[in-house]
């Protein structure tokens, strides 16, 4: 009886499988061999389709009742590439590894069909609060100093507030700056800014694409409350040697990529360095600061089902002030005492190092896996010397982790993703080394090393309920092990999409996120003293619950999409600092931290046109963010520092001709908030032997600075078409064209009449022109 049961089951399963058409494989760039993530694969004339995952793999199973006839035409397309159609017999299994050719020179023809399919894909996806950007879309945008900066571009998206003018701080949907997870090839990047955050650490020549998620988080992401910025490096050209580079006012960069074994293995190396210190040294002027970035990647195709990747990033900020250098540029007659004689020196070093080893494996037609080993190291040290006195303070973080993810493409209606991860963190803050008399004030100490392990396991299903309704539902289990305490919890995730018609959809989502580490910093400018710390027995993980609803519309004829979203976020266990908290060299920082809650809500509009000679986007955000801490502001609710009511970004690129591109960015933001001094009094000290001046402040963050707005322009002139092997361009840009102050603080300064004082708000950067020469071959 049992064997008959098994036979019937087998027959039933076979009947289900029989008649299905399954295709799977990889989609790559026909020129470079790069994986094409999120390329569209669909049945021509239908809404049945799928997309490649982030590693270029796809699987599409078409049910027999979805097709009429004996053949089916499958379309493969991707933004910026030509389209390919393949005709297949119904009821068969196919492995199709496809190469799409880029169509850069005929941008108008770029397959508007490809763009249409990408926009339709976004319309139909359950993903919401998500923006995917290719480097091609942003490379011509104007920026500070002429450096293409992906973080600054992300700040132009709705729901993302920048911090201090020019900084790389991100405040997403009312969250704090340390609530954003920034990944470079799956490795966490703790410090994303050079020069105190004014330039991002990401060299645009080495980057392939990035995805910014602000809500509706899929279960495979966790660890931060407010956003995930997933940045992927290029793999390297597997066919020919190629290069690119640029020379700008602030820095220069060079990238080389090519095959190690043709069509089998490739490499990419990219480097960037500022050189103003070297240039001015020629004129005997001393600027002791520079930074550099190095990116490297190698990939190896073992066979059609196995690939190995290795990525590395190293970036460093160096400030090295030496008394001898000061003396060299000062006339001896002007020196009271030689700086060198004083033995004066000061410096700091900030360094990021990430490594990722990754293995992709394809099991059959429907299952794909990615297993990664990841390490991240972030170090900083500050040093100073005066005569025989030396002081050095070092801190570092080291992460070592492993993650494994599986994609199961069950059929065209159901995709399942699941996986697990574990990261071991070692925090080594405030290691102090002193020598000389200064050690009487500050003794050497080894600091307090902290060890934690952070784990996560998840699963989600992305399922079509019917042709109009799709849902994605999943769960993440996360936690952190530390000495004497374990934190663990569930993070349910849900998102849904309903098609109102072929061009309109509505979406909704819910996400719970937990965060097991935080950055201890009381300033909004990235300082070398900003340290990351884990949760402790007394500091619980931060938690957010976010709901969002959205409306999407596609204007097909003009290649424009409209997205309107509203959200509400509840925040728990947020971290702030006691008034007067001293975070410098304070290993007992726990006593300085307070935990409270917050709320954030708002609406966002994004109108985006990605095709044609004129393209770009307009984004508008209206938002509110509040905080509640029992020990701050007298227990009263107060506004978050970056509660900026209105935010507008207008971004445009216009191809004046085939050789000339003009780009403009105009941004407007309501001023950020601050706590203003509005009075003062003299207060005797405890012995009545002297007076202190005590300031009187408003309620916390009560006052709003003036709105900031500016216009940036860029003109790019490309080389002539006949120069096919070596292409170059000149980029002429200007930042803050009408020289308007972007307020970042309020000062008390003497009034013009010379009597009394007045308030004023200075800006950091005014009109700054830039010139850059870029090339590729």
């Amino acid at each position: 009886m049992l064997k008959y049961t098994f036979f019937l089951l087998f027959l039933f399963a076979s009947l289900c499988v029989f008649g299905q058409t399954t295709i799977s494989g990889t989609v790559t760039d026909g020129d470079t061999g790069e994986d094409l993530p999120y390329a569209a694969i669909y049945v021509k004339g239908t809404n049945i389709g799928t997309e490649t995952n982030e590693y270029g793999f796809y699987s599409l199973t078409i049910k027999p009742d979805a097709i009429t006839g004996e053949k089916v035409t499958i379309v493969f397309s991707f933004f910026g590439y030509g389209e390919i159609e393949q005709e297949l017999e119904v009821g068969t299994f196919h492995t199709i590894n496809l190469e799409l050719e880029p169509k850069i020179e005929n941008i108008d023809e770029v397959v508007i069909t490809a763009e249409k399919s990408r926009q339709e894909k976004e319309l139909r996806s359950t993903d919401m609060s998500t923006t995917k950007l290719q480097m091609e879309q942003i490379k011509n945008l104007p920026s500070l100093g002429g450096e293409v900066d992906i973080i600054k571009v992300v700040q132009l998206l709705p729901g993302v507030q920048g911090g201090t003018e020019g900084s790389t701080g991100m405040f997403v949907r009312g969250g704090d700056a340390d609530q954003n997870l920034v990944l470079l090839d799956e490795a966490t990047v703790y410090n994303i800014g050079h020069l105190f955050g004014f330039f991002s650490v990401f060299n645009s020549d080495a980057i392939r694409d990035m995805t910014m998620i602000k809500g509706g988080f899929p279960s495979n992401y966790g660890g931060r409350l407010s956003s995930i910025l997933d940045i992927r490096m290029k793999d390297g050209h597997d066919n020919k040697i190629h290069g690119a580079g640029g020379i700008g006012l602030l820095s220069s960069r060079i990238t080389l990529e090519g095959p190690i074994l043709k069509d089998k293995a490739s490499f990419l190396i990219s480097a960037r360095r500022t050189y103003i210190d070297k240039v001015l040294k020629l004129a005997n002027l001393f600027v002791p600061y520079y930074f550099y970035d190095l990116n490297g990647k190698a990939q190896y195709k073992i066979n059609d089902k196995n690939r190995l990747f290795y990525s590395i990033y190293y970036g460093k900020d160096v400030l090295a002030f030496d008394g001898q250098d000061v003396d060299d540029q000062t006339e001896p007659a002007e020196q009271d005492t030689s700086a060198a004689d004083l033995g004066l020196g000061f410096g700091f070093n900030l360094a990021n190092l990430t490594n990722t080893v990754r293995w992709n494996h394809i099991y059959g037609d429907k299952l794909f896996s990615n297993v990664s080993l990841i390490s991240t190291a972030f170090n900083y040290d500050i040093n100073g010397k005066l005569g025989s006195n030396n002081i050095a303070i070092r801190s570092n973080i080291f992460d070592l982790g492993m993650k494994a993810d599986w994609d199961y493409f069950k059929n065209s209606d159901l995709k399942i993703k699941f996986g697990t991860s574990i990261i071991s963190h070692v925090f080594n803050p405030n290691i102090v080394s002193t020598a000389g008399d200064v050690s009487d004030f500050l003794a050497s100490s080894a600091g307090d090393k902290l060890y934690t392990q952070e784990f996560g396991a998840y699963g989600y299903a992305d399922q079509d309920i019917n042709p109009l309704w799709k849902i994605k539902y999943g769960l993440r289990v996360s936690g952190s092990f530390l000495k004497g305490k374990t934190y663990a919890g569930l993070e349910p995730r849900f998102s849904t999409r309903y098609m109102l018609d072929n061009k309109t959809s509505i979406k909704a989502s819910y996400s719970r996120m937990k965060q097991y580490m935080h950055r201890v910093s009381s300033s909004t400018v990235a300082l070398p003293t900003d340290l990351w710390y884990p949760v402790t027995a007394n500091i619980a993980p931060q938690i957010s619950d976010q709901v969002a609803v959205g409306y999407n519309m596609l204007f097909e004829k003009i290649g424009t999409s409209l997205t309107i979203e509203g959200y509400y976020k509840w925040l728990q266990n947020l971290i702030e600092y006691r008034e007067g908290a001293n975070l410098i060299l304070n290993n007992n920082f726990e006593n300085e931290l307070l935990q409270g809650k917050g709320d954030a809500w708002g609406g966002e509009v994004l109108l985006q046109k990605n095709k044609g000679r004129f393209n770009g986007w307009i984004s508008y955000t209206i938002s509110w963010a509040t905080r509640d801490f029992d020990e701050l502001n007298g227990g009263r609710t107060f506004w978050a520092k970056y509660d900026r009511r209105h935010s507008i970004s207008i971004v445009g690129n216009f191809d004046i001709s085939k050789r000339i591109t003009f780009s403009a960015v105009w941004v407007y933001q309501t001023g950020s908030r601050f706590t203003a001094q509005i009075g003062q009094y003299f207060m005797p000290n405890s012995t009545l032997t002297g007076l202190d001046i005590i300031p009187i402040y408003t309620d916390r963050n009560e006052v709003q600075m003036s709105p900031s707005h500016r216009l940036d322009l860029n003109l790019t002139i490309h080389s002539r078409e006949k120069e096919k092997k070596f292409k170059s361009e000149w980029a002429f840009g200007c930042y803050n064209v009408y020289n308007h102050a972007q307020p970042y603080r309020v000062d008390i300064v003497p009034a013009e009449q010379g009597i009394g004082y007045k308030y004023q708000q200075p800006g950091l950067f005014g009109f700054i022109p830039s010139i850059a020469y870029n090339f590729k071959f």
Partner: protein, 287 residues
């Protein structure tokens, strides 16, 4: 390119960028209401001293812009015509202005009653404001011993002060002050004399971590005075937290990166702090 050309170009670029620094934007902010500022000191079983002044606008004086504490400014802020009383155990004493010390008021023969609440009431007819506060007088703590020696390193001179005292029963907070002899304002003079530069250090202790006899050494760097006063007081937890906050704000690094501090006050309708602790004061003569 010659070095001189690079230098000229660098200067030109620098001038160009400097000339493009945007003009700061003005902003108008409200001014805090003027209120009375109160502090106090107790001479055991003799008198209670209260200082009284007024708060003023943020734009009237700026330490960051180099303003010094001129006597003219201080005199404008001192309040010398207020009506001040102190009430305790059914009695009420009046505090009278001290003619030689504007802004200071003293009572006559106010007893120091342990574990008794003292209520301070102040009315200023000029501002037409009334403020009040209540504080309990805590048991006095006394030093067992105080001594000091001077020593030096290669670069610095320091004075090590040794002191010990008996911890009182219960949960207690202590304030230990170190200040010079040259102007002991407890006995004469006023804290409102302009440009005073009397070195003062304060340490705060909580007996959560000790009991019985407590002894310690406090190092005073570059103490140039010939002698010093050392005092100890048993203070309330609220005053301890208030002083801790004031100490934190004097930290150089904190000043760079801290959030603004709104100091607590136990003065209803005003600023400052009213306390009724009274110190044990020792004079240490340094060699």
């Amino acid at each position: 390119m010659k070095k001189q050309h690079i230098a000229i170009l660098s200067v030109l670029f620098g001038l160009f960028f400097a000339s493009c620094i945007p003009k700061p934007l003005p902003i108008e902010l409200r001014t805090a209401e003027t209120k009375l500022v109160v502090s106090s000191q107790v001479i055991p079983n003799a008198t209670m001293i209260v200082t009284l002044s007024k708060s003023f606008g943020a734009l009237s004086y700026s330490e960051e812009n180099g303003d010094t504490t001129g006597q003219e400014l201080l005199d404008q802020l001192l309040v010398d015509s207020a009506i001040i009383t102190i009430s305790y155990s059914g009695f009420t004493d009046t505090l009278y202005p001290i003619p030689s010390a504007p802004g200071l008021y003293a009572s006559i023969g106010t007893p120091s009653l342990i574990n008794t609440d003292y209520t301070l009431n102040i009315y200023d007819p000029e501002l037409n404001q009334t403020v009040w506060s209540t504080a309990a007088m805590l048991e006095q703590v006394q030093f067992d011993s105080v001594d000091a020696i001077i020593d030096s390193t290669e670069l610095f001179t320091y004075t090590d002060v040794y002191f010990s005292f008996e911890d009182l029963i219960g949960d207690n907070y202590y304030m230990v002050n170190f200040y010079s002899e040259s102007n002991d304002s407890v006995q004469s003079g006023s804290p409102f004399e302009a440009d005073q530069n009397i070195p003062t250090e304060t340490i705060l202790l909580h007996d959560q971590t000790f009991s019985g006899t407590y002894s310690d050494t406090h190092r005073l760097w570059e103490w140039e005075e010939d002698s010093l006063f050392v005092s100890i007081s048993n203070i309330s937890q609220e005053y301890f937290e208030y002083l801790s906050l004031r100490q934190k704000s004097r930290n150089f690094f904190t000043d760079l990166v801290k959030e603004p501090i709104n100091y607590p006050s136990n003065i209803e309708g005003g600023y400052g702090y009213f306390t009724t602790h009274f110190p044990d004061i020792r004079l240490v003569t340094l060699p």
